[in-house]
């Protein structure tokens, strides 16, 4: 027994799930490159590691644990609904159960599991050594963990939310949901969403900039397409969610009136904002599933995917159209019929790209010689189940039908066909497919088959009857029902099905314990499935450095179609150059974590950049970030002040360039002109990953602004008088003049950037200082303006909207000033010169964005009241 326990502990250490002590003998064998990429062992090492391998293992284990927890909640739900007039749980407890179940599954299970897969698979699949921002990966895990703990800790305080995963107002307002339940929900989710946004940006940059040389867009695997498209959808969907949860929190905490119809607000605004996030969110879960299945099906059908390019385009189309469907969740909200019919049409149009995907898989299987492994079975189970969910989806997209079944168990049946069939089954397909590569053990196929068939049959039993009980009129979110309505049989079957499904899932846990933790599973070779994509190109599990020799890609399925991975297509004039670069990179630099950056369309090598190494900052940053939310939750203002300062400090500490970063051109192999293998080691503009990060941060800001501005106009359009009686139309002359400050600052910071490119240190400092001074003056004016205007944020929705927009602008400016201050400090320390000025460039971009943002905010706040005079 003790021996077995020791063995388990050893396995968990190997998997990176427990801290391990240094194994000196092993370490001595490593050569310089391996040592450079290896994160420290031991307890402290466990907290600072940023390697995607161990981080992903933890991330996915935590998300899977939440899946099981939420699964237990569903069993309680189903137990309660098994028979009429049941008293297993009471009404309030039932509300808590489905609220937590829905929220956890939607926010903290599927998306993190998909992100986990992506963080593991993308680097190997694309031929990258790591993700572009390893610290971001670690930060993502910690924030996710703390967000989940925060949400679940509501139970400790007996403040569990009861408002459903949609948190509709007025139910979720302070008036009808007093206590902290909803606040736990809002703030816990916000923590997780911040992490999701960061992950989204990281995954985008990985697919766009870290592909192996020769992997043109046309050769990029469908899985990478799916992640690219999903990550963009995340930026466009999670930002509205952050905005809407913030507005609701402002209503609840500060008494603002966004959603209060008695003071110019509108509850429907919440529904719009929530579903602009909520519908795409379904696709954010579903599109990576398409990606997984598009790897699994070709791998086991033993042939390339049919219609590769069509599927790539269909993925993009699905993601985009998914943003035009949200109104179909509001067909019963009393909107205009013609207006709704456009959204009904869009909801049906999305069946076109979905159809392309399904046909492509079927054609691939048809033409191939499929091997029915557990992984492929789950993929097939997905296709069948998702098709049914698609059909019921088109049914509810028909407005009159939706009027009949809205808020019944028909809808519950429908969306579980899409969510369990369309997301959970593919996740299991992904487990059986990738886990052998991730941890170096095959899962048992025998247990796997049981696992699949129990889950598949249990699923159909559990959810098909819900369509019937729904058509018979059974509403969702009711804790019990009387006998004699014909609902008994479907409900009983449904509960039996849920338990069968549960047993199937338990078998998976047993399979993992038996095969991996107890180590009974066979050890796979490097490509146990004989797949053609590069996720199977490395040794098993992938080494810390990913690829010592980065592959040169000349086909879509390199392992099937290329004789060697380090040799390019002989017809490609660039191939020799690519080979020289990747062979050179295998030798040097060995002293720092070097990654090749390539161009977006054609994957031509552009630069060699340094990836960050292990650090405690991601953990600290996650802790202080979470503390912000905890302090807000419990109204502890001193803690809030401390944690805001802490967040600023942690961000600076995190981003402060290491000595290695600053001096790598000096220390390494005599590369005096800061070039290695013919490529620059300091970059700026579109060949620098950090430039892309800034561009995407600006995109997120723009989306947030758009949401706030649309909310403003939504409220204005619904108002009889705007500003409301008793308010003055704001004067725009002084604010207009204040805009000049930001304009001047923008010019100054770009001037500084231009000058440092010529190596002019003094002018760099001068430009930055002027920009800082202008920004500070603007901020001071803005704060004064907010205090002096006399507009109350809590008297009327008008004031709430104005103050929120101005406050938001103030926060953006403040962030810009902090960045500027740090960059100025670095300039004083002499960190920049004609080659190294990326931080200056990024600051200039951000400053410009803030200035442009102000012009928008200015136009809205000071201009739009005049619209009411015109119309």
């Amino acid at each position: 027994m003790i021996r077995q326990l020791k063995q388990v502990v050893r396995r968990l250490r190997e998997l990176g799930m427990l801290p391990s002590e240094r194994q000196a003998a092993k370490a001595a064998q490593r050569d310089a490159l391996e040592r450079t990429w290896h994160d420290p062992d031991g307890l402290y090492g466990w907290f600072i590691t940023v390697q995607n391998g161990p981080v992903v293992n933890r991330y996915m284990s935590a998300a899977f644990a939440l899946f099981l927890l939420s699964g237990i909640e569903t069993l309680m739900i189903r137990t309660q609904l098994a028979v009429p007039d049941n008293r297993f749980v009471g009404p309030s407890h039932y509300n808590q159960l489905f609220t937590m179940h829905g929220s956890i599954m939607m926010f903290l299970v599927t998306v993190p599991l998909m992100e986990g897969f992506a963080s593991f698979a993308l680097p190997v699949l694309l031929g990258a050594r790591e993700l572009p921002f390893p610290r971001m990966t670690a930060f993502g895990f910690w924030t996710f963990l703390f967000g989940a703990v925060l949400l679940y800790s509501s139970r400790l305080f007996h403040q569990v939310p009861e408002v459903g995963w949609t948190a509709y107002v007025p139910l979720a307002s302070a008036e009808y949901s007093p206590g902290l339940g909803v606040d736990f929900w809002l703030l816990g989710l916000s923590v997780a969403e911040v992490a999701a946004l960061g992950a989204g940006i990281e995954l985008i940059i990985a697919t766009l900039k870290l592909r192996a040389p020769g992997m043109t867009l046309g050769r990029m695997p469908i899985y990478a397409w799916s992640i690219l498209v999903t990550a963009y959808a995340m930026l466009f969907a999670f930002t509205p969610l952050l905005v809407s949860t913030t507005l609701l929190e402002l209503d609840r905490k500060l008494g603002m009136r966004f959603f209060d119809p008695n003071a110019g607000g509108d509850p429907l605004l919440w529904q719009h904002l929530f579903w602009i996030f909520g519908h795409p969110d379904v696709y954010i879960q579903f599109l990576p599933a398409v990606g997984i299945v598009s790897l699994v099906v070709p791998a086991f059908a033993r042939r390339p995917l049919v219609g590769h390019g069509l599927v790539a385009a269909a993925l993009a189309a699905t993601a985009i159209i998914s943003f035009g469907l949200w109104v179909h969740h509001m067909f019963t909200a009393g909107l205009s019929v013609l207006g709704m019919s456009f959204f009904a049409a869009a909801s049906m149009a999305i069946a076109i790209p979905a159809g392309i995907q399904v046909l492509s898989w079927i054609a691939t299987l048809w033409k191939g010689r499929p091997v029915f492994t557990t992984s492929l079975l789950f993929a097939l189970g997905f296709i069948v189940t998702f098709a049914v969910g698609g059909v019921t989806g088109v049914m509810v997209a028909a407005i009159p039908f939706d009027w009949q079944v809205h808020d019944t168990h028909f809808v519950v049946g429908h969306f579980h066909y899409v969510l369990v069939g369309g997301v959970i089954f593919p996740i299991f397909a992904g487990f059986y497919y990738w886990v052998p590569k991730m941890v170096g053990r095959l899962l048992s196929e025998r247990l796997g088959k049981w696992n699949f068939w129990l889950m598949f049959a249990g699923f159909q039993l559990a959810f098909f009857p819900m369509h019937i009980s729904g058509l018979l009129g059974m509403p969702r979110r009711i804790y019990t029902y009387p006998a004699g309505l014909g609902w008994e049989l479907p409900n009983l079957i449904s509960t039996a099905g849920a338990y069968t499904l549960g047993i199937g899932a338990a078998l998976f846990v047993w399979n993992v314990a038996w095969s991996i933790v107890l180590g009974r599973g066979a050890r796979p070779d490097d490509n146990p499935w004989g797949a053609g994509t590069m996720d199977w190109a490395t040794s098993t599990p992938p080494p810390d450095e990913g690829y010592r020799v980065i592959p040169v890609v000349s086909s879509r399925y390199p392992l099937w179609e290329q004789a060697r991975l380090d040799a390019g297509d002989p017809h490609d004039p660039q191939a020799l150059r690519h080979e020289r670069i990747v062979r050179g990179l295998a030798e040097s630099p060995a002293g720092w974590r070097a990654q090749l950056v390539t161009s977006v369309l054609t994957a031509e090598p552009q630069a060699i950049v340094l990836l960050s190494g292990p650090s405690i900052w991601p953990l600290i940053a996650a802790i202080v970030l979470t503390l912000n939310f905890v302090a807000t939750l419990f109204d502890i203002y001193w803690l809030l002040a401390l944690s805001v300062l802490g967040t600023i400090g942690a961000t600076i500490g995190w981003l402060w360039p290491s000595k290695q970063d600053r001096e790598r051109r000096l220390v390494d192999e005599g590369a005096g002109d800061a070039r290695l293998h013919g490529l620059p080691v300091y970059t700026s503009g579109t060949s620098a990953p950090a430039w892309w990060t800034m561009a995407h941060i600006i995109l997120v800001v723009a989306v947030a602004t758009a949401c706030l501005v649309m909310s403003y106009y939504y409220l204005q359009a619904g108002a009889t008088a705007w500003p409301p009686p008793g308010y003055d139309v704001p004067d725009f002359v002084v604010p207009g003049a204040a805009s000049l400050l930001l304009l001047a600052g923008t010019l100054a910071v770009w001037w500084a950037e231009r000058r440092v490119r010529r190596g002019a240190q003094a002018q760099l400092k001068l430009g930055l200082a002027v920009a800082g001074a202008a920004g500070a003056a603007f901020l001071a004016w803005l704060i004064l303006e907010m205090m002096r205007s006399g507009i109350s944020a809590s008297a009327h929705a008008y004031g709430s909207a104005v103050m929120t927009l101005l406050g938001y602008q103030a926060v953006l400016v403040l962030a810009g000033l902090l960045v500027l201050g740090v960059v100025l400090l670095q300039a004083l320390l002499g960190y920049f010169d004609a080659r190294r000025f990326l931080a200056v460039q990024n600051t200039a971009m951000y400053y410009t964005a803030v200035a442009v943002n102000w012009l928008v905010v200015f136009g809205v706040v000071y201009g739009s009241p005049y619209l009411s005079l015109v119309f």
Partner: protein, 104 residues
């Protein structure tokens, strides 16, 4: 990336988005006292959106035929597929205005 490529990539996307939002707004305008509102603006929006998307397809063909860079054929075909899907989506949405009245 050339300007033509950007246009090919986003024409259908933006045409569809703008069409959806504009038609939704037009459909939400108050009905006149006689209980009718002209569907003409919506039809005009539909035709415009279709025209832009078709122009996007043409641009995509030009990109695909560009002999210069190896990645272009794929990217061109990619944008064309995207635009064709949007073409369908616009026809579907615009078509509803033929059958459903704004003041129903």
């Amino acid at each position: 990336m050339t300007r033509r490529l950007w246009f090919a990539l986003f024409a259908g996307h933006l045409a569809w988005t703008a069409h959806l939002l504009v038609s939704y707004l037009l459909a939400s305008l108050p009905c006149s006292a006689s209980g009718s509102v002209s569907p003409l603006p919506i039809h005009m929006a539909t035709v415009t959106a279709l025209a832009v998307t078709v122009a996007g397809i043409a641009a995509g063909r030009a990109v695909a035929g560009d002999p210069e860079a190896s990645a272009r054929p794929f990217v061109g075909r990619f944008t064309i597929t995207l635009s064709v899907i949007f073409l369908f989506a616009i026809v579907l949405a615009g078509g509803t205005a033929l059958f459903v009245s704004a003041c129903a």
